[in-house]
């Protein structure tokens, strides 16, 4: 049940650019990515392929990004699939499948070209089948020590290249949530299923839905805060399994955004002592399994500070949370903990609504640089020096050309944020009349959608 794509590493919206080939490349053919992978896998010459996901055209390629005179380039029409063996800088098992470009031994000696028989004569000559290219480290005789080469030193015939095993090449910290290595087999040796496929196992971890979890190809990952990285397997009888990955021996990194009185972001760094839910239920201790059984124990999650029964966020949920001491309520968020302020300090101040502010602040309250008022990118402005010539819309300074009651603002250089208010606060003593002082009676003249209230009919 393995997919032929399992042997490939995918780069979205990317193509390989090469000088014109001689002979020219075969014409693209219509096929799905999996069919293309099957064709490339059985072709000795093929090392990669482009797949146009719109037209379903596929072009086999004899090179990879590591080939001479080849470069990667963004192209939204293509996905690039490259054979993993040509990209790995680590080895699987004895490394006999290693096809990387390491050309130096573990002691720093340059490797002799396989095609050459000097300074060392040998019988391992290149052929289309054996991968003995250039002077790259290889393991043509299944040496237990892994890939090796003949050296250019006449006194040292051959030497191991000391290439690490993939499970040791990249270590993991804590529970491996940040692990981005290339292990693609489970601890029992079963191959992993690709994250972008739904067979043999359907699953909710679509790479596009979890862009920050690194769900690339079929590599072991930890998108759900399990104890360690895992993957769905190609065995239909075994849905998922943990992977064996070395724990880093270096000092554990300190979590980002450690706070106590408030929380930032999702509160993964929150280390305060709130231990009651907003509805007044005490939190369950993390080291307890009653009333709720769970796997978030302090020993298994040493980086998450699961002390006592404090609100914590060990799994990247929306906010700190806890299991509750009430059997009918398993989990409660601790949204009642304040969020830490995340705005820039005010650099200047304005009077009224800031409609006459002509200062030089040119950053938003979040620190994003303002877009020049006369510019058309990244946002096409509805208000500009041409539409509002009297508003002093100079450079990219914060202004208030529409008398926005919330103060000076600007279009921003962030493509995702058309406009935002600026790092400017009302000057002290510059009070806008309270809304409560002029509470005129308002007659509603128009109406939204009338509610057709339904009688609740019970279950």
């Amino acid at each position: 049940h393995r997919s032929p794509l399992n042997d490939f590493q995918r780069l979205r919206a990317t193509e390989l650019l090469a000088e014109p080939a001689d002979p020219p490349l075969p014409s693209p053919e219509q096929s799905s990515a999996e069919q293309c992978a099957r064709r490339c896998a059985t072709s000795l010459a093929c090392r990669a392929f482009h797949h146009d996901w719109q037209s379903q055209l596929c072009q086999l390629l004899p090179w990879t990004q590591h080939s001479p005179h080849i470069q990667l380039q963004k192209n939204i029409h293509y996905d690039l699939y490259q054979k993993k063996v040509f990209l790995r800088d680590c080895i699987v098992a004895d490394g006999s499948s290693y096809r990387g470009t390491r050309a130096m031994t573990e002691k720093g000696l340059r490797c002799q070209h396989w095609q050459s028989t000097t300074p060392h004569d040998h019988r391992f000559l290149p052929s289309p089948h054996n991968g003995l290219e250039e002077n790259y480290c290889r393991n043509p005789d299944w040496d237990k020590r892994g890939p090796w080469c003949y050296t250019v030193d006449p006194n040292i015939r051959h030497q191991s290249c000391g290439i690490k095993k993939c499970e040791d090449a990249v270590c993991m910290t804590c529970n491996g949530e940040d692990y981005r290595g290339t292990v693609d087999h489970t601890e029992s040796g079963t191959e992993c299923q690709r994250w972008d496929l739904q067979h043999p196992h359907k699953h909710p971890y679509h790479p596009h839905k979890y862009p920050d979890k690194g769900l690339d190809d079929n590599y072991c990952r930890n998108p759900d805060s399990s104890e360690r990285p895992w993957c769905y397997t190609v065995d239909p009888g075994r849905e998922r399994e943990y992977c064996r990955i070395r724990l880093c021996t270096e000092k554990r990194p300190r979590p980002l955004n450690v706070t106590t009185g408030c929380f930032r972001g999702k509160g993964e760094g929150y280390r305060g002592r709130v231990n009651v839910t907003v509805s007044g239920i005490p939190c369950q201790r993390w080291d307890a399994q009653v009333p709720h059984q769970h796997h978030f124990t302090p020993e298994k999650y040493p980086c998450k500070d699961l002390q006592e029964n404090y609100c914590r966020n060990p799994d990247g949920s929306e906010a700190p949370w806890c299991f509750t001491a009430r059997s009918t309520v398993r989990i409660a968020f601790c949204f009642h903990i304040h969020r830490c302020p995340d705005e820039l300090g005010a650099q200047e101040c304005y009077f009224g609504h800031g409609e006459h502010y002509h200062g030089l602040v040119s950053k938003t309250r979040k620190g994003i640089t303002c877009q020049p008022w006369a510019a058309q990118t990244p946002h096409v402005p509805q208000i500009s020096p041409f539409t509002h010539p009297e508003a002093h819309l100079e450079e990219n300074y914060c202004r208030n050309p529409d008398n926005d009651s919330h103060g000076p603002w600007c279009y921003t250089m962030d493509p995702r944020t058309p406009f935002d208010y600026c790092a400017i606060k009302p000057c002290s003593g510059s009070a806008v009349p309270s809304v409560l002082e002029n509470a005129d009676a308002v007659a509603f003249k128009e109406c939204g959608q009338r509610d057709e209230r339904l009688q609740y009919k019970g279950r």
């Binding site: 596009h208 862009p211 972001g265 926005d404 509610d451």
Partner: protein, 227 residues
């Protein structure tokens, strides 16, 4: 909602994370825009890929074949003015309005809801056993005059906050309801006057509840939708 009862609130939406878990409420003010509270979101430029709103259902976890259920991805978050604690969420496509999904009107700018107006909160949040937690619950709360509220809370009430009077029965919003509506019926219109924000204790019987006063930010809301 604590102390409420099952009911209908067709502008109330359920906000779901990538795992499909409801974590906050919101209000549908335009076919493609929802208002909620900043407290529910990790940042103003949070990556909401995979996050969705669910509309048109009464059950918190309706079956996938529920004909009324609409599921729409969220594409963008826009944070409100400082201290507003509001966010607007843009949806990937417009919601279909029908008998189960409706817009709620926005109030006039800077409108002050008269004291004593009976308004309604709605949500799928914690009920503390007072109602069925698997369905949408609603509860009525009367608006409290600002002066009285300020006195009860020792001068800590801002203009940007709207108060409702505490009820002896203990009625109010709770976890899972945050971001949802305080809707007031005015001249045959349901108007979004407040947004539910987290408090330290749910449904207090001895203190008013605070909501974000939407009328102070109506200009910003229209500006965001226009921009």
């Amino acid at each position: 909602i604590i102390g409420g009862q099952p009911g209908n609130s067709p502008w109330t939406v359920s906000i779901r994370n990538r795992a499909g878990v409801h974590f906050c409420g919101g209000s549908l003010v335009e076919e493609q825009w929802v208002i909620s509270t900043r407290q529910c979101f990790s940042s103003c430029d949070a990556d909401l890929m995979g996050y969705e709103v669910h509309l048109g259902m009464l059950f918190k976890d309706p079956g996938p074949k529920d004909p009324e259920l609409q599921t729409i991805p969220i594409t963008r978050i826009v944070c409100g003015p400082s201290e507003s604690q509001l966010v607007m969420l843009k949806l990937a496509r417009p919601a279909t309005l029908n008998r189960r999904v409706a817009l709620i009107c926005l109030p006039p700018e800077r409108y002050v809801v008269p004291a004593g107006t009976v308004c309604e909160i709605a949500g799928w949040g914690e009920t503390r056993g007072t109602a069925d937690g698997g369905v949408l619950n609603v509860a009525q709360l009367p608006v409290l005059a600002h002066g009285e509220c300020n006195a009860a809370l020792r001068g800590r009430v801002k203009d940007s906050e709207l108060c409702t009077a505490p009820l002896r029965a203990g009625v109010g919003a709770c976890e899972g309801d945050y971001g949802g509506p305080l809707a007031c019926l005015t001249a045959d219109c349901w108007v979004l006057e407040g947004v539910i924000t987290p408090s330290r204790v749910c449904a207090r019987t001895d203190q008013p509840a605070l909501f974000i006063r939407v009328s102070l930010y109506v200009d910003w809301i229209y500006k965001v939708m226009k921009m």
